[in-house]
């Protein structure tokens, strides 16, 4: 509070600064100090995953200099979009403290549906996609009903769903087992080649910075007017400029090769939207509340069942969407789609990214960060020509570390009073 220049030296203390026991971060140094305090008390946010990412990238880059090339990174972005979208659904369900183990099967079934309806039955592609998403929503509603009505643990119902839906997928694909999607169709192009025109990518990066600044500035102005402490213009500007510069550099680097895949653009768009929904809407508040303390949420008048239903449906729909993206990426709908490590990668991504398994704590961005970690490991090992056996082991180890970090951070938060 010593050098809060922007607020002048108010004669009347600010509404939220009247308690002199609290240290309030002022200026740049203060911001760093309060960040360190938060980290020490176990409020880690995205820090562990970013540290992990730096380590992983350093190791792979030193082993193979192609790893961080524009070309490889563009491929990485293509690859991480599909499972990333599924992981975004997992973030939703983990938010309320439940789990969906069937996202892999749902994604495989959705891709099979698109293949069968579009290629074999001749439906318009948009209708086939819509149908697959609708079936995803139906599956989510079913889980929600089992959970709300019969109190069936989501762990069990979705485990049953994993098997049943995999069966459905094999059934509708029939004896052929695999359907090729036509090359050159917009859907396959979207998954394989379409990238943003360079100018658009630069513009989007700039818009992100501008929007951050404008919303931050508006909030600060309103808070100041209302007699609350507010961020200084300088720090707002600094933050916006930092974001813009970093994003523009990333775009510049990727534009050296093909550029930013539209599919990745879609993924990031979904992440940003989900982040808004979770942090700035009443629905997001309910999700956090139900995950944090279900009974308290109920007593506050929140419709707890509806909240659970929305989480299950959101998760299954995003899983279906991820499956459709995977089909377009591979240009096929096959019996293998959605099997193997898809399920666990999606769940691991959300957890590695920092969404807590215990509910009530997480962020949409954890899906983005987590899937980049997982895909980096996969990509790096592929470049080194190492078999998938090693990939599974390393991803497993990273997941274990992430869960340990989550548990330790949780303990530390409890002892530091941060829930």
């Amino acid at each position: 509070m010593t050098k809060d220049i922007e607020n002048g030296a108010p004669a009347v203390p600010l509404l939220d600064r009247s308690d002199e026991r609290v240290k309030h971060a002022a200026g740049f140094g203060g911001a760093i100090r309060s960040f360190l305090d938060r980290v020490q008390s176990g409020d880690l946010g995205s820090l562990p995953v970013i540290v992990g990412l730096v380590i992983i990238w350093t190791v792979f880059q030193s082993l193979n200099p192609i790893f961080l090339s524009s070309n490889n990174l563009v491929n990485l972005l293509f690859d991480c979009s599909t499972v990333g979208v599924i992981a975004l659904g997992i973030v939703c369900i983990l938010m309320v403290g439940e789990i969906d183990l069937s996202v892999g099967s749902v994604s495989g079934f959705a891709s099979a549906m698109v293949g069968v309806l579009w290629v074999n039955q001749g439906w318009p592609v948009w209708l086939a996609i819509l149908a697959a998403l609708a079936v995803g929503a139906a599956i989510g509603s079913l889980y929600a009903m089992l959970f709300n009505r019969f109190g069936m643990p989501s762990f069990v119902s979705t485990l049953a769903g994993l098997l049943a839906i995999l069966g459905l997928q094999l059934y509708i694909l029939g004896s052929t087992g695999s359907i090729n999607l036509p090359y050159g169709s917009p859907v396959v192009n979207f998954g394989q080649t379409l990238v943003m025109p360079h100018a658009i990518a630069y513009a989007l990066a700039a818009i992100a910075g501008i929007v951050t600044f404008i919303t931050g500035f508006r909030t600060a102005a309103r808070r100041k007017e209302a007699g609350l402490s507010s961020q200084s213009l300088g720090s707002l500007l600094l933050r916006a400029i930092l974001i813009t510069v970093v994003l523009e550099l990333i775009v510049f680097y990727l534009n050296q090769d093909r550029g930013i895949p539209w599919m990745f653009g879609l993924f990031v768009g979904l992440v940003v939207t989900m982040n808004y929904l979770l942090t700035r809407t009443k629905w997001g508040r309910s999700m956090n509340a139900v995950g944090g303390n279900r009974e308290a949420a109920r007593r506050a008048g929140i419709n707890v069942r509806l909240t659970y239903t929305s989480a299950f449906v959101m998760c299954s729909v995003l899983a279906a969407a991820g499956g459709i993206l995977a089909a377009s990426r591979l240009a096929s709908a096959s019996q293998q789609a959605g099997t193997g490590d898809v399920n666990l990668n999606a769940i691991a991504a959300a957890v590695i990214g920092g969404t807590s398994l215990f509910g009530g704590r997480g962020s949409a961005y954890s899906a983005l960060l987590g899937i980049i970690v997982i895909q980096s490991i996969a990509s790096g090992l592929t470049l080194l020509d190492l078999s998938s056996s090693l990939r599974y082991m390393i991803t497993g180890a990273v997941l274990a570390i992430a869960v340990i970090v989550d548990s330790l951070a949780r303990r530390s938060r409890v002892s530091h009073g941060r829930a």
């Binding site: 609290v22 506050a300 530091h416």
Partner: protein, 272 residues
């Protein structure tokens, strides 16, 4: 003394319970409870541990459903199938176990379920309103942007009370609202109860502190082992109240008081 509506008040009857019972399996937590609360009246609900006070409050808050009996709110018979039904009617509750979300900050807890501007939360207005409510209670809360987990018990209690005041309720149920509060904050809450009563709301307050009860209550309803056990007015003698609460004139409280009295008299006798 057993007629629950002998409150002399002629003002509107906000709440009227008849024959409310609640069983948890084999345990009858409440049996045949009658209770009336008028507008502008503070009813204190007292009774020993396990007497069923909190259970009654939870029935009124829609948390538990009564096994039998009727609830009339402002003259109309109502059912309270869930907490949101009670909140919609204008029944606000501070629970004994507070029921806050530890992972959310103070503002989010106060506005939980009643957020301003659902599609684009109005955080600034919510924060201002939160500070206004908290200042009314002379709360000592360092920051409303910290998770509730970092607050002390009394601070949490203040947050829970602030939350109950948010929506201009018609009836406020306070389950041991001052149990964890400091001296100043307790006085503030008692003042607040009086202010709320003067605004014409009905208040039901549970407390084990007879001093607080006498200070603000217009009527004192005693529960014992899940049953009505008398209605008193603040001028009733301590002896009567205690025996209604504990169920006998020969009880540990009066034995203790008698012992001390005897000791004191003895002490006086031995003095020359």
């Amino acid at each position: 003394m057993t007629d629950p509506s002998d409150g002399t008040s002629t003002s509107e009857l906000v709440l009227s319970l008849r024959g409310i019972s609640k069983n948890f399996g084999a345990v009858s937590a409440l049996t045949d409870i009658d209770l009336d609360v008028h507008a502008g009246e503070v009813v204190a609900l007292v009774g020993d541990n396990g007497a069923g006070k909190s259970t009654l409050v939870k029935v009124l808050a829609g948390v538990h459903q009564p096994s039998s009996g009727t609830i009339a709110f402002r003259g109309k018979e109502v059912t309270l199938p869930d907490p949101s039904a009670a909140l919609k009617l204008g029944i606000a509750t501070v629970f004994q176990d507070l029921a806050l979300c530890e992972n959310l900050d103070v503002v989010a807890n106060i506005f939980l379920g009643k957020e301003l501007n659902p599609l684009r939360l109005d955080e600034v207005s919510m924060e201002i309103k939160a500070w206004t409510l908290l200042n009314e209670l002379s709360a000592r809360i360092p920051s409303v942007r910290e998770p509730v987990a970092s607050l002390s018990g009394g601070q949490r209690q203040t947050v829970a009370i602030a939350r109950s005041l948010l929506l201009d309720p018609k009836l406020i149920l306070l389950d041991e609202p001052t149990a964890a509060l400091g001296v100043a904050q307790t006085a503030e809450v008692l003042d607040l109860i009086e202010r709320v009563r003067d605004r014409g709301l009905g208040v039901v307050m549970i407390s084990h502190n007879m001093e607080d009860v006498r200070a603000v209550a217009d009527r004192i309803v005693v529960l014992r082992l899940g049953r009505n056990n008398g209605i008193f007015y603040p001028d009733a003698s301590n002896q009567d109240l205690v025996s209604a609460i504990t169920g006998a004139s020969n009880n540990s409280v009066s034995r203790r008081a008698g012992r001390r009295q005897a000791q004191r008299e003895q002490g006086q006798e031995t003095q020359p």
